[in-house]
Symmetry: C2
Subunit: 331 residues, 2 copies
């Protein structure tokens, strides 16, 4: 995912985010910055806690800065209130610097709700986007696919899903380098008449949209078989499906470790490698004026490193401007 | 699952149902009937096709009857129209005989939609049930749990989910022999405020229902960890989740077969045994005046045998009458 075109990019990272804070986040950022040519990283958080970790990492000379933040957002806080009430938290400080152009992307493994609320309140929506959506890359049995919305909007309209499909198409072309991504609608059957009213009307809109390479419904039983590269759904269903797949993947890792299958060949070992979420670099909130990258709360250092690389790549690709250009041209 | 108390029960089976028809269904029924003391089976379908299979099975003397049916319902047919237009199909004939009391349960691996429509149109709802629900037993990493609605109602109200919880509680007490089943609401977070309006209001109703042993929301990431014995959700989400788990289970079987993990010990082998859906005996449509058992379209003979055993057990338990007694007493 590294790219020389990211030269000149600065990535902001919430050093306090995630289940393990600076001790896991900072080594991940250092790992990414070490081999990203010309990319700077700015760590937001408790300077003392961050410095202790950096001192152990042989990071002299790396393009790393620290922005001291005196407070933090807890995982349980109501997102919008947290953004208003914690002006000196890493997410709010980094979003403000992103808005000002001091940094080019914001990565956090902290509260997903606060990242979404902060992006909407401090960066704002793209003019052509009514509802930004979380776009997450999920490993499948055959490769990977993009799922959106993975949880930003629990209730959606068919127009929202059409916009998700358009954003997902452009995003997968840029990030996954797919020329002609196949777009599918997550549903409980293949026929156009299946599912909720939202499904049926979304199927109609997607079928009629000439700019969307729509291939029809994708049943959940076939979701991991790679039938589609971009799968659209409402944020409730998307979050439900994402967490079920994550739960399955993490259990599988544990069960396989217990069974000692690491040394056996064949499909299962490949599957376990692919189902390792740390290899995937965070989810972008698509549709806002910026590049917010939401990393998993349980991110390892390797996952943070990959999220940092993804952030640099997406910032260099000027993803928000590309999306707005593409969407505005349809209006 | 066998039980001597099933003596005198007759189970009706759609011999033409499922992906493989009589060649798979009939051996499964014969296997079940061979060791179910005092239970009769009536096979509905093409007598010639059924007889050819029976002749190869050393089934002389077993309590087996055949009811000739001159037509069948295809998987793609609109369910309600199929019930009206195919009076001599196995599902319609068996449902009519069930209504008349000639048979005590109906098993089919054919169209789920036709089984639901046929049950509603020919058997009718229980007086206290507004929306019958498909209740399916799903293997978890730690045991098994009951999911409902697994697909009968794509759109539901909080009152429907409350009724599902009540039916699921009584059903799991009888079928799974759990004295105090834990009931959970499938959701994307643990807090009462999470999810759609349906989730939030259902959480409130379930919390206030003194007769439901409600333990709160169950996140999909923890669904397979056995946090709840009975998990309620709308039929769209339930069907989505069921099919995703099935897809994962069937892929895992294939991947493991390729990797040769069958001989290695530990958690993975146990997991594979548990994730074998053939071991589970079909899903009952709860809330109608009868005992319709919906088997998976891809059922093996062993799965049909287990569905037949479950049907006999549930008929002997007088499940519909027990449900109505329990629900009516709340009114």
């Amino acid at each position: 995912m590294t790219d020389n075109s990211a030269t000149g990019i600065t990535v902001a990272i919430d050093a306090m985010g995630g289940d393990f804070g600076p001790s896991v986040v900072v080594p991940g950022v250092v790992e990414a910055i070490r081999d990203l040519d010309g990319v700077r990283a700015t760590l937001y958080g408790d300077t003392a806690a961050i410095s202790v970790v950096i001192d152990d990492l042989d990071a002299d000379g790396l393009p790393l800065d620290i922005v001291e933040c005196s407070e933090d957002i807890e995982m349980g806080e109501a997102p919008a209130a947290a953004i208003r009430n914690r002006p000196d938290s890493p997410i709010v400080r980094a979003m403000r610097d992103h808005k000002d152009g001091t940094v080019d992307a914001v990565v956090s493994a902290g509260s997903t709700g606060a990242m979404v609320a902060g992006s909407l309140m401090l960066l704002g929506r793209l003019p052509s986007v009514d509802r930004p959506a979380i776009a997450t890359v999920i490993p499948s049995f055959t490769g990977r696919f993009l799922l959106l919305d993975a949880g930003a909007n629990v209730q959606c309209t068919p127009d929202h899903l059409l916009c998700f499909a358009r954003m997902g198409t452009h995003y997968s072309r840029a990030l996954l380098e797919l020329d002609e991504p196949k777009v599918g609608l997550l549903n409980i059957g293949e026929e156009a008449s299946k599912g909720t009213e939202l499904c049926i009307e979304s199927h109609r809109l997607l079928s009629a949209a000439a700019d969307v390479p729509f291939r029809g419904n994708v049943e959940s039983r076939n979701l991991l078989l790679g039938e589609a590269d971009v799968v659209v759904t409402d944020g409730f269903t998307g979050n439900m499906v994402l967490k079920l797949i994550e739960g399955f993947g993490s259990f599988l890792q544990k069960a396989a470790a217990g069974a000692g299958t690491g040394s056996s060949g064949g499909g299962l070992r490949d599957l376990l490698v692919r189902m390792d979420y740390a290899a995937y670099g965070g989810a972008m909130l698509l549709g806002v004026r910026g590049t917010p990258i939401i990393a998993h709360g349980a991110s390892s250092s390797r996952a943070i490193a990959n999220a940092t690389r993804t952030a640099a790549k997406l910032a260099a690709l000027r993803m928000p401007a590309r999306l707005e250009d593409a969407l505005a041209s349809l209006a």
